[in-house]
């Protein structure tokens, strides 16, 4: 890969510190001019094209494939099947660590879900491979498919999400409900949803002897590297993965799935570089999704509108062959000061690809149910929904009793409500109309997402010419890592951002952890910060121990790195440039490593979450039931904001996804075959521009001394939470009709006029 030529246009020049500046994307010019190389843009010489053939049944086995017909097709080179494939070093069914999920790598002829890969056709052209796959004309032995939330006997999974307890409680929920003046008992359903990143999953694999190079979008370079190494039985240092840009990931490119493994196997089989790209419809199966849920909330409140109990149970599904359980009920752990809280989950197994992390897993599904139920409870108590939330504001984390590391939610409520004009909201539904007679409704939802950290490493260097280098195998999914992390890097080494060579996106760089859990900026940023501090300390040692330096003897007072110079903390007139220090010392560069990791002591002591408040206005045609969101305001407190422009963009994206959750997204599954009937962007609706109203994002100032050294909480996922329910609650306020099945459909609003 050639060096990336990231922009250093005047717009990027900083004034003051780099962190906090609204720089535009440093990779923006590359992207808008088509020069940013995504995985599928790579075409090594001699490359062949691989196309996956997928199962049209959801359960059973492949009885036969017409391999001969495919091979006869001009241009087809080979057909990889469960009978004809390179061996793997270990069975991919073995879970070697908790972040390994089972995949389809043609290890048997069993079919476990519709759209499962059952063969790979490799050809000289994409067209020949595509037709070859069609000519396989599979025959199946079909078994009845398990479909839907009532597919079979339910069970209590051992854990939900990533190691969360399935059940959790504090206080006596039944007693709390019994003592309540007002109770609600409501059940909500959310549908299966698919990530639908704009860039499909793709791999270009190239074996050179026992060395392997892989172009592949990934949110976890080192996890992918480790998985490839164990599956193919090769050393880590024989593998090079390049993932400079992702066209979105949203959790579906976090952990190694089957399709890239099939691409690497295909390249091994034919001894040539191979490109394998999923078609849009093939993304509805082997690369994860958000599982459907059915959530029952029982809430009690006393005569003053104070919660007495909150019981949140979620039913979800996993695949028949692996375990991932959407931790939807856990959304009720943090927000409201109920003296008694219980959360629980159960699940059924269905013939589906294994569900996985999808932007705000658990929080997105759980939040729309919880925040709808809170809205219902406020109405049942006759209290304004914002007042109700303030009345039940949690000063400590309700489920644990821990204090919050910081929580500016009250300010979010205040600023969001003021900007929106919430005070004028009538309590009763169906009170407002616009000039055209459309029903108008206002709704709100509280946003919350945990402030997580993973583990990361970074390497920093200061070079003889006074410039800096920062290396970390970080991932830019479109969220702006190339820019935001470079800003942190620049501050970490006391240089302008255009004086620091920032390297990311390849597997040979230090481990940046996974770009997920809204934790990438915090985690990678902490590693960068500590590597920068370490390299500056080395540079300072060179200077303060050298009697020829103006900084000689400043060791106790300390030095500050600023604008490429070290200066005495107690006398800023005394200092010298990095270049001068290195030249005198006669070294080409100094380097140092740093790590970022959660602080267990702080985590033990504090509950760490980002928060927000989202307000939405919808209009609903009173006779025809069509809904349109006309205004949204979101106020979010997420610790330190590294780049306000990128953060606003992330929050916009999250809010739009929330709107989508409430009104649009649903994978329609045929109730008999288990096939998804709308596996395309024409029919699987996400909002188009005309659906997205003017969005207003407020970032509320919040200083958090505990989450990490930089005070960053993360903004990748929180925008969805709160937003979906704000829209749903606004639909209720407009119509007086409470729809508890998402997305909200026209027929629900027609039927109950």
């Amino acid at each position: 890969m050639p060096e990336l030529n990231l922009t250093s246009a005047p717009a990027h020049l900083r004034h003051g510190s780099n962190i906090g500046q609204p720089l535009t994307r440093r990779d923006g010019v590359l992207k808008v001019t088509g020069q940013a190389t995504y995985a599928a843009d790579n075409h090594p010489p001699g490359m062949l094209f691989a196309v996956i053939a997928t199962s049209s049944i959801a359960r059973g086995r492949v009885a036969s494939l017409d391999v001969a017909a495919a091979k006869r097709h001009p241009g087809v080179v080979d057909v990889m099947t469960s009978d004809h494939k390179p061996p793997l070093a270990i069975d991919p069914e073995i879970k070697t660590n908790p972040f390994v999920f089972r995949m389809e790598a043609l290890q048997s002829n069993e079919v476990r879900y519709a759209n499962q890969p059952i063969a790979v056709v490799i050809a000289e052209t994409l067209e020949a491979a595509t037709e070859g796959a069609a000519l396989l004309a599979p025959r199946y032995e079909t078994l009845p498919a398990l479909i839907g939330l009532d597919a079979g006997e339910s069970f209590v999974p051992p854990v939900v999400g990533v190691g969360n307890p399935t059940e959790n409680h504090r206080g006596d929920v039944e007693a709390g409900l019994a003592s309540a003046e007002t109770q609600i008992d409501a059940t909500y359903e959310t549908p299966p949803q698919y990530h639908n990143a704009m860039e499909p999953h793709a791999v270009v694999a190239h074996w050179d002897g026992d060395k392997l190079s892989v172009d592949m979008p990934t949110q976890g370079l080192k996890l992918s590297l480790a998985r490839i190494a164990e599956l193919f039985g090769i050393a880590h240092d024989k593998i090079h993965i390049r993932s400079p840009f992702l066209g979105g990931g949203f959790g579906s490119k976090g952990l190694m799935g089957g399709p890239p493994v099939l691409g690497i196997m295909a390249a091994k089989l034919v001894g040539k570089p191979v490109k394998l790209v999923l078609r849009r419809e093939q993304m509805y199966g082997p690369v994860g999704h958000r599982a459907p849920t059915r959530q029952r909330l029982r809430i009690g409140a006393d005569g003053e509108g104070r919660l007495t109990a909150l019981d949140h149970h979620a039913r979800t599904v996993s695949s028949t062959f692996d375990d991932f359980y959407e931790p939807a009920a856990d959304a009720s752990h943090t927000l409201y000061a109920a003296p008694a809280i219980r959360t629980s989950h159960d699940a059924v197994r269905v013939n589906t690809g294994t569900p996985l992390f999808m932007r705000a897993p658990g929080e997105a599904t759980g939040s729309i149910a919880l925040e709808s139920a809170i809205d219902e409870m406020a109405w049942a108590c006759g209290i304004d929904p914002l007042s109700f939330r303030l009345k039940n504001y949690a000063e400590v984390e309700p489920i644990t009793g821990k204090p919050f590391s910081s929580k500016a939610l009250r300010a979010c409520y205040d600023q969001g409500a003021a900007r929106f004009g919430w005070a004028k909201r009538p309590l009763q539904p169906r009170q407002m109309r616009d000039d055209a007679g459309l029903l108008v409704g206002w709704g709100m939802g509280t946003a919350t997402f945990p402030a997580l950290m993973f583990q990361a490493e970074a390497r920093a260097a200061i070079r003889r010419d006074g410039s800096g280098v920062m290396e970390i195998g970080a991932h830019d999914m479109g969220q702006g890592a190339w820019t935001a992390l470079a800003q942190i890097a620049a501050d970490a080494v006391g240089l302008d951002v255009d004086r620091v060579t920032f390297k990311a996106g390849t597997s040979d760089l230090p481990d940046a952890g996974i770009a997920g859990g809204s934790a990438h900026t915090a985690t990678a940023g902490a590693a960068i910060h500590s590597a920068g501090a370490a390299v500056i300390a080395k540079l300072a040692d060179l200077a303060t121990n050298d009697e020829r330096s103006p900084l000689f003897g400043a060791g106790n007072a300390g030095v500050i790195a600023r604008d490429g110079r070290l200066i005495r903390r107690d006398d800023e007139s005394r200092g010298e440039s990095y270049a001068e220090i290195l030249a005198r010392a006669g070294v080409a560069e100094v380097e140092a490593h740093g790590t970022g990791a959660p602080n267990p002591a702080a985590m033990e002591e504090y509950a760490m979450h980002a928060h927000g408040a989202v307000f939405a206005e919808v209009k609903v045609d009173p006779e025809l039931g069509q809904v349109r969101v006309t205004r949204m305001v979101g106020a979010f407190a997420a610790g330190r904001i590294v780049n306000p422009r990128m953060v606003q963009s992330q929050l916009f994206g999250g809010m739009i996804w929330g709107l989508s959750f409430a009104l649009h997204e649903e994978a329609v599954t045929d109730r008999r075959s288990g096939r998804i009937m709308n596996a395309n962007l024409g029919e699987y609706h996400v909002p188009v521009n005309a659906d997205v109203p003017p969005l207003d994002v407020i970032t509320v100032e919040e200083h958090d001394p505990h989450v990490n050294a930089l005070g960053i909480k993360g903004v990748g996922e929180i925008g969805i939470t709160g937003s979906a329910a704000a829209v749903a609650n606004a639909v209720w306020h407009a119509t007086g009709v409470r729809v508890r099945k998402f997305p909200i459909r026209i027929e629900e609003l027609l039927a109950q006029r």
Partner: protein
């Protein structure tokens, strides 16, 4: 994909001869056909590209006052033709409510008429579909069918025709000019699409080789211009097919409806002209009561084909609303959100 021959005839006659062969299909913009080919739904042996034929891309006013629209005029060019939009506002509104701007720029008049259903079971080649494979069965019955037909369907097929453009066209009595092996002929658009009956695989009155060369709006169609609207309920504000739509056009004289035209979209295998409802409105004042009576008449024969009973009630309400909007008068400018219930929302961003 399956290899195919690609031919580019120089004349309409050559095109007809080339397309009359078994396995041949016409290619215009391909906005529907290419998707069908990629999905393996349509596997033609030969594509006959008509996009280079001369004389099929004009919009001309004929001496008798009718308007002739060449089959290769793009949806966007037609909708944005100022004279056309003024004379046939409901048709322009329907065009601009369809697909996306990119698709409208490519898609042609003839292709729009002949677009295939959006029934998911037609597109899913693993499903049984009598339309795709005659006699195989219909998996849409008993499947996920909340958007399927409520009028004119049969046990063999419950698919709908997805066109917006065709709905006001059929209401206005459009005529289709066809060039075939036996020369030129013309039929009413209302006769072009067939109801499924026992042969849903036969979707139109066209014979092998038949090429639609033009659509004609008769002289009387212009007389509805002051009172003509298209209304489309859909599940997102733009780039979605109609759940139900309606075109309503009225000729109002001295406070009474001299003549009414009404057609529904998204409810049947063809754009559904509601003649009985039109009859109810003839000679009466344009009141809500009259419109409700018309709505009942329009849906008298409707019955659910699955989980779609709501579409019948929705269609009634859309008819009332479309007639009400038409009676109120065609707006001077096309709304920013054409055909949308939110058309009047101020500050709307154009779809």
């Amino acid at each position: 994909m399956k290899p195919f021959d690609y031919v580019r005839p120089a004349t309409v006659t050559e095109a007809v001869a080339a397309a009359a062969q078994p396995g041949a299909v016409y290619l215009a913009a391909g906005t529907n056909l290419l998707d069908l080919m990629k999905g393996g739904v349509s596997r033609p042996d030969r594509l006959v590209d008509v996009t280079h034929l001369d004389g099929l891309d004009g919009i001309e006013r004929l001496a008798d006052g009718s308007l002739r629209i060449g089959a290769l005029v793009s949806n966007a060019d037609l909708a944005h033709d100022a004279d056309f939009a003024r004379s046939y506002p409901a048709v322009a509104e329907a065009l601009l409510s369809g697909a996306s701007a990119q698709l409208r720029n490519a898609a042609t008049v003839g292709g729009n008429l002949l677009q295939r259903t959006r029934c998911a079971y037609f597109y899913d080649t693993a499903s049984r579909c009598n339309k795709r494979e005659a006699g195989s069965g219909c998996d849409a019955r008993g499947g996920e069918n909340r958007t399927h037909a409520v009028l004119g369907w049969s046990e063999s097929c419950i698919a709908t025709h997805p066109s917006d453009f065709c709905v006001p066209l059929v209401a206005l009595g459009a005529v289709v000019e066809i060039e075939g092996r036996a020369g030129r002929r013309e039929i009413a658009l209302d006769e072009l699409h067939r109801l499924p009956g026992d042969t849903p695989e036969r979707e139109s009155a066209l014979e092998p080789g038949d090429l639609i060369v033009a659509v004609r709006l008769p002289p009387a169609a212009r007389e509805f211009a002051p009172h003509a609207r298209y209304l489309k309920v859909r599940e997102r504000t733009s780039y979605a097919f109609a759940v139900v739509s309606a075109a309503a056009a009225l000729r109002i004289e001295n406070g009474r409806i001299a003549e009414a035209r009404l057609a529904l979209g998204g409810v049947a295998a063809k754009p559904w002209r509601a003649s009985a409802a039109e009859d109810v409105l003839k000679g009466v004042a344009p009141t809500t009561d009259a419109f409700q009576e018309a709505a009942w008449r329009a849906l008298t024969d409707a019955k659910p084909s699955g989980d779609n009973a709501f579409k019948i009630e929705l269609a009634r309400r859309i008819v009332v609303r479309a007639l009400t909007l038409a009676a109120a008068g065609t707006p001077a400018r096309l709304p920013a959100l054409p055909a949308s219930p939110f058309a009047s929302t101020s500050g709307a961003i154009h779809a």
